[in-house]
């Protein structure tokens, strides 16, 4: 039933005698599925608000974009592309885990999860190396708002990935106790979806943080912030 249909119900009308009460539509759907949807919604709002402030701040005179001129650090963004590749592989490994789960292949499942986790951890390490690269070039946190946003946004993205690793650890640990097969499947699938989401989020961050001033001006104008 659509939301309009649900909200149009007339609950005061008495149930006909002998009617069997039914469970709701999602009563058997694992709870982790819906909670993940809400969680991703919350994280999206969180980063969206950062993006709005970022675009707004990018239009001030003192904002020096990290790409555009040859001497700027991300005019050549090869380091970030390598990190992106690692995160893509992590996401692929998590998807392999989902397929292994569906085929009921225990060893392949654990192996894929391990690879997904290790690659995610590697991505975080590589991001830290990018920070060191930036700091080495004199791009400190407080040096310019563009630097500040780079550190803050990549840091928060890494923190979300760390949270995912913690959750994955708990899911693997609980697999021994979780008797309900459906819940077990849902938990692994949720981890995979979370990994894909963080990959998508990283691609957006990558795009946003490495544009030229002209592109920022264009985005700002399109958002009415110019």
């Amino acid at each position: 039933m659509s939301w309009f249909g649900i909200l149009s119900e007339k609950p005061w009308i008495p149930e006909a005698q002998g009617t069997t009460a039914e469970w709701g539509r999602t009563a058997y759907t694992p709870a982790v599925k819906i909670s993940l949807r809400f969680l991703l919604g919350v994280i999206s709002v969180f980063f969206l608000l950062f993006f709005v402030t970022f675009i707004s701040r990018s239009q001030y005179d003192d904002f020096l974009a990290l790409a555009g001129e040859p001497w700027q650090p991300f005019t050549n963004s090869m380091r970030l592309w390598i990190n992106t590749g690692v995160l893509v592989l992590a996401s692929v490994a998590m998807q392999c885990a989902v397929y292994a789960l569906r085929c009921n292949h225990g060893v392949r499942l654990l192996l894929s999860l391990a690879v997904g986790a290790v690659l995610a951890a590697l991505f975080i390490v590589l991001q830290i190396s990018v920070w060191q690269f930036l700091a080495g070039m004199g791009y400190s946190v407080a040096g310019n708002p563009a630097n500040s946003y780079f550190y803050i946004l990549t840091g928060l993205h890494a923190l979300h990935l760390l949270g995912g690793l913690f959750a994955l650890g708990r899911v693997v640990n609980n697999m021994r106790f979780e008797g309900n097969l459906q819940n077990r499947h849902a938990a692994i699938e949720a981890c995979a979806v979370y990994w894909h989401y963080l990959l998508g989020l990283w691609l957006v961050l990558f795009f946003m943080l490495t544009r030229t001033p002209e592109t920022y001006a264009l985005i700002a104008a399109a958002c009415g912030l110019g």
């Binding site: 119900e9 009563a27 709870a31 909670s35 001030y60 946190v141 407080a142």
Partner: protein, 588 residues
């Protein structure tokens, strides 16, 4: 494979075996609710004490040497933040949300009990971090509850060193706690309802909590974003919100930041926050009014729609808090229009509450007195909001006591009236004992009349132009002597209201220690929470079998029925009717 409905899954229930497992590291939603409530009330009492100190200074300036200008600003700030976030949000959602959701929708616990437990402990840590700011060098922040930069982190503002950092950290931890709890609430409501409990059969309390939780999940990130950015500005010298500035004769290292950006972020959270507090209160007061008027809620569907519409609109009114920030007039016009539109669903709710009382069999119990008191205070606070929603009226009244009076009536006194209505109403369920009625009525009248004695004259002070946040008014030509006398009167009323809250504390302690046991379901309530096998409900709530729901939660005084209420889990064929009696509409 046999699938078990989410509501009936018992694997995650973790039956506690030790005292610590049962009462400290508990995963039972009821214990967590009580932990939330006790912590929130404790910290709320601190905020109450701060307001009394603040009023002493305003009523009798210069009489109390220990209240310095810095201390006064710190009292104002901490009072506001504690009341809005750590008391009202935590008690309404963490306390009542936790207790009532599983019981009202008919499930055994929250869907993620471990996360629920973590939510409380994170909340407790946030409270400890906040309170610890009273004990650091420089004391807590005195920047006002809105924490506007640049002054919040500039030398010269009280608590600009450690105080503001602890406040921002505490808020960040609180938001993490809220998110963990909030995910639990919405998932439990959407997926773990018992058989027959359709969304439109849920009590309005649950609708209010559900919508407020979704608002919180979407609005608190704005506060988190601003808290993180301001922490960076304060600790690492970034310039998100800090413009180029000269402080105490020295140019600072900041440049180019936008303080107005912070205001947008803050109020994008701040206005929905009003409804995060108000919507659960709307829901609970609807249920209390219906039960104690022995009449179904008037316009149930309209009440649900109004809750949802108010929730949606609350995201597009935030800039009405910023009319004096120098915004584009067209921008102000847009926000004034949306602000006035939100009055429509709100007014619908007020009419429906009054129409629920109309020709009802009103029992003037203590919860009912508080609920009726709420209708008065909320209507008054809401009407003054219509004044302030208009740019031309807001400009002269902004930053005067009129604003203080308005928001205290609408989101201070009103939700607190509902909180007390709810505490008196559900106390027998939680404790198995009923609070003393005489003390309860004394508490009500003291609070109701006392708050009017505080806030009605405060509107008048605002019209005179008396500014808020000032430590002392001094000799100002446009403020007459009578305003000072009025300030003294308000302070005396505030002290009396604070003392009347002690009546409630005494009532709770006395009842828990030596009060008589309550009868089962003393108010004759139809919704599920009062129909558990044990009262107070045991771990797992429902014994061997979950209840099955056959009707909405408002079947009171059904024509022809022998009992004056029909519980939600009673099927139509099991309802006893008088001889020859029948439902209205039956056979027509």
């Amino acid at each position: 494979m046999t699938h078990i409905a989410i509501a009936d899954q018992t694997a995650h229930l973790h039956h506690p075996k030790t005292f610590i497992g049962k009462y400290i590291w508990s995963q039972d939603h009821k214990v967590i609710a009580i932990q939330y409530s006790v912590t929130a009330i404790f910290v709320g009492l601190i905020a109450l004490l701060l307001s009394v100190l603040m009023r002493l200074q305003l009523g009798f300036p210069g009489e109390f040497n220990f209240i310095s200008p810095d201390a006064y600003l710190q009292f104002v700030t901490m009072h506001g933040m504690i009341m809005v976030i750590y008391l009202l949000t935590a008690l309404l959602l963490g306390g009542f949300g936790n207790y009532l959701i599983p019981l009202m929708v008919g499930t055994r616990d929250m869907v993620f009990p471990y996360l629920n437990m973590l939510s409380y402990w994170f909340y407790l840590v946030s409270v400890i971090v906040l309170v610890s700011s009273f004990f650091v060098v420089g004391g807590p922040t005195g920047a006002g509850w809105t924490l506007y930069p640049p002054q919040a982190i500039l030398a010269g503002t009280p608590g600009a060193g450690s105080g503001i950092v602890l406040m921002l950290l505490s808020l960040a931890i609180f938001i993490v706690a809220f998110t963990m709890g909030g995910l639990n609430y919405v998932t439990t409501i959407f997926q773990a309802r018992t058989r027959g409990m359709t969304l439109m059969r849920m009590p309005l309390t649950i609708w209010g909590i559900l919508t407020a939780t979704i608002l919180g999940l979407l609005a608190f990130p704005a506060l988190l974003v601003s808290a993180i950015m301001m922490l960076f500005d304060a600790l690492l010298g970034t310039s998100f919100f800090m413009p180029a500035i000269v402080s105490l004769g020295e140019p600072l290292n900041h440049e180019g930041g936008s303080p107005i950006l912070f205001q947008h972020l803050f109020w994008f959270f701040g206005h929905p926050e009003v409804y995060i507090v108000a919507l659960p209160a709307f829901g609970m007061v609807s249920d209390v009014l219906s039960v104690h008027a022995r009449k179904n809620i008037f316009g149930y569907r309209m009440m649900v729609w109004a809750i949802v519409v108010i929730g949606g609109l609350s995201f597009i009114v935030w800039a009405h808090h910023m009319y004096v920030s120098g915004m584009n007039p067209y921008f102000g016009f847009f926000f004034a229009t949306t602000t006035l539109i939100i009055a429509v669903p709100t007014a619908i709710k007020v009419y429906n509450w009054v129409l629920t009382l109309w020709r009802g069999n009103i029992h003037l119990t203590v919860p009912m007195l508080f609920a009726i008191g709420f209708i008065f205070t909320f209507t008054h606070g809401g009407l003054s909001g219509l004044f302030l929603g208009n740019v031309v009226v807001d400009l002269p009244l902004s930053d005067t006591f009129f604003v203080v009076a308005h928001f205290h009536m609408v989101m201070g006194v009103s939700p607190i009236m509902v909180l007390f209505a709810a505490l008196y109403h559900w106390f027998p369920l939680v404790s198995g004992k009923q609070l003393h009625t005489g003390l309860g009525k004394l508490h009500f009248w003291g609070t109701f009349l006392g708050t009017y004695a505080i806030y009605l004259p405060m509107h008048y002070l605002g019209f005179l132009g008396v500014p808020r946040r000032y430590y002392a008014l001094g000799d100002t030509s446009f403020i007459p002597e009578s305003a000072h006398v009025l300030n003294e009167d308000i302070t005396i009323a505030a002290i009396l209201v604070a003392l009347f809250q002690l009546v409630f504390v005494v009532n709770v302690i006395w009842t828990l220690r030596s009060g008589p046991r309550s009868v089962r379901n003393p108010w004759g309530v139809a919704s599920l929470e009062w129909h558990t096998p044990d009262v107070p409900p045991a771990h797992g709530n429902w014994g061997d079998e979950l209840p099955t729901v056959h009707r909405w939660a408002y079947d009171y005084s059904v024509p022809g029925a022998k009992q004056d209420f029909i519980p939600q889990h009673v099927a139509e064929e099991d309802v006893e009717y008088e001889a020859g009696g029948r439902r209205v509409g039956e056979g027509e």
